[in-house]
Structures are given as C-alpha cells and as structure tokens.
C-alpha cells in the first residue's frame, strides 16, 4: 500500500508493540489496508524491554543455578561466575532474531510501517513526521512505561527501572527491589542466581499479590530458601543516596541499604500529549477507556494493550489487537474472558495460573459452593527429578467445572497451556481425570490433581 497523501487506510495503528502489531498483522491478513506507526522499535516493550529479554536473563540464571548445583546430579563442574557481557550478548541475540522475524512478518503481510512519533490529530488521522495519515479506523496502542511515585526519582544509575536493569553492564553486590509483583520477583530471581544480595520491599501482605494466596506463600517459602529477602507490608517512605549506594526507608521503620534500587511498582500508560483527550477520547488516569469490544467512546477509535486498563500482558495485547482487527474487518468477535488469560511469573520457581483465585471464587459463588484441592509436587516423579518443590491448587465450583488452576514449581509455567484449556472449556474434574497423562512428566501432576478432585487419586493419599 503506497503511503501517499491521498491514501485513506482502513486502519491506522499508533504504536507497534504487542497490541499494535497483532492488530496490524491480523488486519492485513483479513485484507484491510493498514498503517502501523512506531516511534521506537517494532515489537515494543515486550520484545525489547520486557518479556523476551527478561526471560533470556531468567534462563541464563537457570543455567547458572544448574551449573552451580551440577554435582547434585553427578556432573563435575566449577561455576566461575557470570560474564555479564556474555549474558547480554545471548539476550540481545535472542531479541535480534525475533525482531528480524517480526520485521519480516510485517513486511510480508504488506503492512505500511511508518517510523516516527505519531499524534492523534483528528478522530480519523494521526500526524507523524509532518504528514497526516488518514484512516477509517484508528487503533491506539501506545503501551506503557515504568511508573514511579513522588519523591522517587529514577536516575538510571543507582535508582533504576526495569529498562535500565535489563542493560546493567555490571552485577551489583546488593539490590533493593521496590515491588513484589511479577517484574520485581523475576528480577529478584535473576539477580539472586547471579550472586546479588536481594531484598524485595512490598507494601501488600504478599509477593505476587494478584495470585492465589497459596501460590504467594509457596513462592515466599521458595525465595526464603534461596536467600532472597523480602519485607512485606512495608510501604516505601523514602530513599537517600549513601556513599556507594542507596538507603531505602519504609513507613514501618525499616531501613535497608544496597548498591542499587530497582523500582518495579508498576507501569503507567503512554498517553500524555498524544492528542487523545483533545479528540474527545474518554480516559481515566491516563488509561484509555474501552468497552468489551475494545471500542473507545469515539466510534472510529479503538485502543488495546497496556494503554487500556486490562491485564498488562503481551498476550492480552495480542488477543485485544486480533479482536479489534477482526471486528473492523466485519468478523463476528467474542469478548475476551480476562479470567481465562494465563498468567506466568517466570521466577525460580515459576508461578502460573488461570481462572479465579479461591478468594475470588468464594466472592463469586459463595463459600459453600467452592471446593479446592492441593496436589504436592513431591509426589510427581518428574518434579522430583528436577529437584523442585511446589503445588498445584485447583478451585472448583461444587459438582461443576474447574474455575481456577494455580501452580508453583520449576517449569510449571508451561503447564498453564493445558490449564487454560481446562478453565476456558469449562471442564469437569472427571473429564480431565479420565485422560491418563504421560509418565513421568509434570503435566502428570495436573492429571493427578484432577484425579484427586474427581475422588480417585492415584499417586496421592486419599
């Protein structure tokens, strides 16, 4: 599609991250003419500063741990340390490979990719590089950036965000991580494996506070065992520079020193100064408000991804982007069941879940209607082989479907694929139990948990 002044695209997408590029790829596939405007790099946060680089670091961390503990498996090896340059090279190569693939994909689907910073200039146009790009539909997908709080200035040196942490060219001796959510826990896990003395400071009573309390507790136990320190129910009150690092103080009177402070208290939408409000798009605290079809109040404008107040996950962005493209192309679309979105914290051990926590299920169905079951990975052969500890907790509506699956343990993130089918397809425990899983595998643990919930535990006590 030529990008001359007279062109009116079917869709103009502002922002080429997970949400934006998914909408572009699916739209083009459905025959729409698509312009995709990106000021930085195609792939956005997830590919360049989020999911992918963090998971590469986490895998390097896993390799470090396995190397250190190799003798426990009969492998003679000496761990000599982390070559941080090598880690970055590995990580950057992974990113570069996927980046190239994505660029090829966007090119092959004939999406008009426009490099530049865009601004919504009317309800049907975006201005970029001094040019007006017109579209019958506009999709806002400008994503999010790390957030801070008043009194906490991210200097990029001793007080850093995940953006900086991913590029740190040295390994600090000690680090404080503000925020015990997914990002905080993942960095805590990486750094600990790299030999850093880590302390997490979290205001809520638990790490990964959005997860079922059981998962939080299991992660806390595992972190404690690994020597990752954490202060819960500790609200940040201030930070000051020391001779060599920083000192963080909390409202409950704690004072902690370290080389660096990683601020991982959440991410805020990118929407200021982009013309959204001027064009009448309804917003709330910087987020663009949408209905279940991702439509804003302006009929020609949709919004997806971290910019809208749904779960901030790359695959949520994918799902939303695809939904919008299909809707614009005139296909019948079904609203996303956000409870059915799989969630993974890729720390060691991993935390994965789909569906409702026990607390939410009780809220929704009433206490007497909710049944839960825990299966300990100690009974699972493959988990024993991996020397990992953890549990699977199932939440079921009495005599009904499984409405929540919560898992903790090494590599358990991969089990959320199966769990996702179970939740979203509304399976009864007996329907899963009927299918005997591969032995020995971690997926078998999911099978055993459902056997137990169906009243016929095999490798578990009644």
């Amino acid at each position: 599609m030529a990008n001359d002044a007279s062109t009116v695209f079917d869709v103009v997408i502002l922002g080429g991250g997970s949400g934006g590029y998914a909408a572009a790829l699916r739209g083009a596939q459905l025959g729409l003419s698509v312009a995709l405007i990106e000021k930085g790099e195609l792939g956005g946060t997830c590919l360049h500063r989020g999911c992918i680089p963090t998971k590469a670091l986490l895998h390097a961390a896993e390799v470090a741990d396995e190397t250190r503990e190799a003798a426990d498996f009969g492998v003679l090896a000496t761990f000599q340390g982390i070559d941080i340059k090598g880690v970055h090279k590995y990580k950057d190569d992974v990113v570069a490979g996927l980046y190239k693939g994505l660029q090829g994909l966007v090119a092959s689907r004939k999406v008009t990719f426009i490099q530049g910073e865009g601004r919504l200039s009317s309800q049907t146009s975006v201005d970029v590089n001094g040019q007006r790009i017109e579209g019958r539909h506009i999709v806002l997908a400008t994503g999010s950036v790390p957030r801070s709080i008043p009194g906490l200035d991210i200097d990029g040196d001793r007080i850093i965000s995940s953006d900086h942490a991913l590029k740190l060219d040295y390994i600090p001796k000690s680090a404080i991580i503000l925020g015990g959510g997914v990002i905080g826990c993942e960095f805590a896990s990486v750094w600990k494996s790299f030999g850093v003395d880590v302390t997490i400071v979290e205001g809520l009573p638990h790490l990964v506070p959005l997860e079922d309390e059981n998962s939080s507790k299991l992660l806390e136990r595992a972190f404690r065992k690994r020597g990752i320190k954490f202060e819960l129910k500790s609200r940040f009150s201030g930070v000051e520079y020391t001779a060599e690092g920083v000192r963080v103080s909390t409202e409950n009177g704690k004072s902690i020193e370290a080389d660096v402070l990683l601020v991982a208290i959440g991410r805020g939408p990118v929407s200021t100064g982009l013309g959204y409000e001027e064009q009448g798009v309804a917003m709330d605290r910087g987020y663009v408000l949408v209905d279940e079809y991702l439509r804003t109040n302006v009929p020609t404008i949709s919004a997806v991804g971290d910019l809208v107040p749904t779960l901030q996950l790359a695959h949520v962005g994918f799902a939303e982007g695809i939904l919008v493209a299909e809707r614009i192309a005139g296909l019948k679309v079904v609203p996303i069941d956000y409870d059915g979105i799989p969630r993974v914290t890729y720390s060691n051990p991993e935390v994965a879940s789909v569906g409702l926590t026990e607390a939410k299920a009780v809220e929704q169905y009433g206490k007497e209607k909710v049944v839960t079951l825990k299966y300990n990975l100690a009974g699972n052969g493959k988990s024993k082989i991996l020397k990992t500890a953890g549990e699977i907790k199932l939440v079921q509506v009495k005599d009904g479907a499984v409405v929540g699956v919560h898992m903790v343990g090494a590599r358990m993130g991969e089990q959320v694929g199966e769990a996702q089918l179970i939740y979203n397809w509304e399976a009864l425990p007996a329907e899963v139990a009927q299918l005997i899983h591969a032995h020995p595998s971690q997926s078998e643990a999911l099978g055993e948990a459902h056997l137990a919930l169906a009243g016929k535990p095999l490798h578990a006590h009644d």
């Binding site: 005599d399 009904g400 409405v403 397809w425 509304e426």
Partner: protein, 55 residues
C-alpha cells in the same frame, strides 16, 4: 465463566466442548443418542442433533 458452568453434567459426553456446543444450541443432551464408546455422546452426535433436532 457463565453460571452454567456450575451445572452438574449428568449425561456422559466425550468432552466439555460437546457440552458447550449443546448449551449454545439449547440442546438437551439427555435427548441425544451417543454413538461413542459405551454410549458416550461425541461431537458428531451433537452436531447431527443440531442439524436435525430429535422429535
């Protein structure tokens, strides 16, 4: 999750997907003859029943 998830399945079906298709088409599974192993209702059975409803 639709509240219907809580309804116990009294009829043996081959998969939760079959139950969902039946529900979406207002089909009473008790009226659907199963041709799967041991009379299990398969996907084809519900699809057939939807095409030409049982009298």
């Amino acid at each position: 999750v639709a509240p219907a998830a809580a309804a116990p399945a009294v009829v043996a079906v081959i998969s939760p997907l079959v139950r969902r298709i039946a529900r979406e088409h207002g089909l009473d599974l008790a009226q659907v003859p199963g041709t799967g192993p041991d009379g299990l209702i398969t996907r084809r059975d519900v699809e057939r029943a939807i095409e030409r409803p049982v009298e």
